[in-house]
């Protein structure tokens, strides 16, 4: 089989049961009907099987919080000027 782009010879490889043709000249890849979908499906399965990412390291020990506490204790508003006023008022 010849590459449709540069007309060099294409070689057939088998990857996870899918036939892939790769051009020996321009390295382009030719997929038959349905092969892209098969690759996508296999990629998705691989991602699901991958171990979960390790939790982000905590810079401080976890502090107990009440049941009604905010879901995230990031202190994101600490430098907001409105909190600056709140820190200093009754």
């Amino acid at each position: 089989m010849q590459c449709p782009k540069c007309h060099a010879q294409m070689h057939t490889y088998n990857r996870n049961g899918i036939q892939i043709e790769q051009c020996s000249g321009c390295r382009g890849i030719f997929l038959d009907y349905g092969e892209l979908e098969s690759l996508t499906r296999i990629e998705a399965q691989w991602t699901q099987q991958a171990p979960p990412a390790p939790p982000a390291p905590q810079a401080y020990p976890a502090a107990p919080a009440p049941a009604w506490g905010a879901p995230q204790h990031h202190g994101g508003h600490y430098r907001h000027k409105s909190f600056g006023r709140m820190l200093f008022s009754s």
């Binding site: 810079a59 976890a62 009440p66 009604w68 506490g69 905010a70 202190g75 600490y78 909190f83």
Partner: protein, 323 residues
């Protein structure tokens, strides 16, 4: 009216700052440190004069001044220059006036420099000091202030459905936290500040002296967890960073403060007061934003959102500490 009050306070402070007040002097003009309905504060040189709110409980104020002047609280509470209110005057609308030494406040522009550990240690010292037996101290005014904030919100936004979560979170508090009953006896006999925030600390003598607590207007006997509840509420709402909250909490524990258990989860003690402060802060946010004809900003919304979570708790979680 405010200008007359400010001028009268400036004159009082200036007179108190000089042994011979009628001699010529090069004092800078008096400066207004605060001017709100609950207190007008004017400084002249080394002296600060404060006009307390009209309608202040004057006998209660005298007891609180005596407390601040008590040698057992030296190094914790700033002592007044004169341990009794000045004679009421027409220029001051009959508001009681007290005189204090000037101290250097926390820099509002530099929250990282805020003395959280020192504030915690001062509170622990206050809470550990037995109430002077010679004083008949009134209750700490924390719950009363929370109730006033809710009343302010109701007046500023009558029938505004946005306030419903705040009102529901308020309804779920035990009666004592809404100022509708006495606090549980086992936790109600501690000396408390009653209104802790970063504006309640000064270095005295200014500018490098030790930190002291000021403003005894709300001080009295009560549950000491109330004095930790404002930072606790900010932390729970996700505003105050956990590391700052832990610095404050651990410094309080290290100083032997009795408001929370010595180790482990402090929330059984903090839960009710922190919920009350969450409601108070959210209610004031609704009241102030209505007066300023704006919607609550993102920080205020964080406190209002916390009320919504309190209001939606299953009852068994919402009444974790019903006493």
């Amino acid at each position: 009216m405010t200008t007359a009050v400010v001028r009268a306070l400036g004159a009082l402070a200036h007179r108190a700052a000089h042994a011979h007040p009628d001699d010529p002097c090069a004092c800078p003009p008096p400066t207004v440190l605060a001017d709100r309905a609950d207190g007008t504060v004017v400084r002249s040189g080394a002296v600060v004069a404060k006009a307390h709110a009209s309608g202040t409980d004057t006998p209660g104020l005298l007891t609180r001044l005596t407390l601040a002047d008590d040698p057992r609280l030296t190094g914790i509470l700033l002592a007044p220059l004169v341990p009794h209110p000045a004679a009421p005057s027409a220029a001051l609308d009959g508001r009681p006036v007290t005189l204090w030494p000037h101290g250097r406040p926390v820099d509002p522009g530099d929250p990282d420099a805020a003395p959280w550990e020192e504030a915690a240690a001062l509170l622990a010292g206050l809470h550990r000091t037995p109430a002077p037996p010679s004083l008949v101290l009134p209750p700490m005014r924390g719950p009363a202030k929370a109730a006033l904030a809710v009343a302010r919100m109701r007046a500023a936004r009558p029938a505004d459905p946005a306030t419903a979560p705040v009102l529901e979170a308020w309804r779920r508090l035990p009666a004592w936290a809404r100022d509708e009953a006495a606090a549980p006896a086992r936790r109600s006999r501690f000396l408390c500040h009653g209104d802790l925030h970063l504006g309640q600390l000064v270095r005295h003598p200014a500018p490098h002296g030790p930190w002291l607590l000021i403003d005894v207007d709300d001080a009295g006997l009560g549950d000491p967890a109330w004095d930790l509840a404002r930072p606790a509420a900010w932390y729970a709402a996700g505003i105050l960073p956990p590391e700052v909250w832990l610095r404050f909490l651990e410094a309080y524990r290290a100083a032997g403060g009795p408001a929370v258990r010595a180790e482990g989860d402090p929330w059984p003690e903090l839960d009710v007061p922190a919920r009350a402060l969450t409601v108070q802060t959210a209610a004031l946010a609704f009241a102030k934003s209505a007066t300023e004809e704006r919607t609550p900003d993102e920080v205020e919304l964080a406190m209002i959102d916390a009320c919504a979570r309190i209001a939606s708790l299953p009852p068994e979680l919402g009444a974790r500490n019903p006493s």
